[in-house]
């Protein structure tokens, strides 16, 4: 069975409510929709106490990013009874308060929708070829990867 899958990489912001509605509109088989949105924070990625950032710039590997996200969506669909998936990831300059990423999963029941969304986000963080650069008052710097993100992704291979 093929399910509706939307994967978009874009510079422009997106409307979360519209994306959720688009996934479930006109369908009566969906009993649960879970959405995760990642938002640009003002704090530096390194932790608390640093200068506030003015913006993030996201670089991505065009072509591979879409393919890699599609591979993880396929895996999520194989592991959980999902009935619809939307993944949107922005690139370019994003200021605090704006959306960065959206994952929406639909299923008959909540468990698959929750787990599918969490699985996709954990893999987006560690495997999708995107890189964040922070722009602050005193210049800009690439954000370091976190071990905790690797640990979060690894738990899906343990069970």
């Amino acid at each position: 069975m093929t399910i509706p899958v939307t994967i978009r990489l874009q510079q422009a912001d997106f409307d979360i409510a519209s994306e959720i509605a688009a996934l479930s509109r006109g369908r009566t088989d969906i009993g649960a929709v879970v959405s995760f949105s990642g938002i640009c924070r003002r704090d530096q990625a390194g932790g608390e106490g640093g200068d506030a950032i003015a913006a993030l710039t996201l670089e991505h590997y065009s072509g591979m990013a879409e393919a890699e996200i599609a591979r993880h969506v396929e895996e999520a669909v194989a592991r959980w009874p999902l009935t619809g998936v939307t993944v949107i990831h922005r690139f370019g300059r994003i200021v605090p308060g704006e959306n960065i990423v959206l994952v929406v999963t639909a299923s008959t029941h909540r468990e698959a929708a929750f787990q599918g969304a969490e699985f996709l986000m954990d893999y987006l963080k560690t495997r999708a070829p995107f890189w964040k650069r922070e722009e602050g008052a005193s210049g800009s710097a690439w954000v370091d990867a976190h071990d905790r993100d690797d640990d979060a992704a690894a738990r899906w291979t343990k069970s």
Binding site: Y61, K125, P129, W142
Partner: protein
């Protein structure tokens, strides 16, 4: 083959992509990194910690012991920080 660089690897090398023809003795991703490191200071700087560098062949993640035979596009980049 086409070689692509992203994020600080791209910045250190000073270019986003180039066409390269490594000698046949360069068989794996790790050997390609070692070969690239000899091409100049900017490459040596980009690859100074080779274990940190991630690689993809034809838009699929690969480990550094992967053979590069038949590769059309190889990309080098730091650990990813999207999402």
């Amino acid at each position: 083959m086409k070689v692509l660089y992203f994020a600080w690897v791209r910045e250190r090398i000073g270019k986003a992509e180039e066409a390269l023809d490594p000698p046949p003795t360069v068989a794996t991703v790790a050997e390609l990194i070692a070969w690239l490191s000899q091409r100049g200071e900017e490459y040596a700087h980009a690859f100074e910690k080779p274990k940190v560098i991630r690689a993809a062949i034809d838009r699929m993640h690969v480990k550094q012991d992967t053979t590069i035979a038949g590769a059309r596009e190889i990309a080098f980049f730091p650990p990813m920080t999207g999402g």
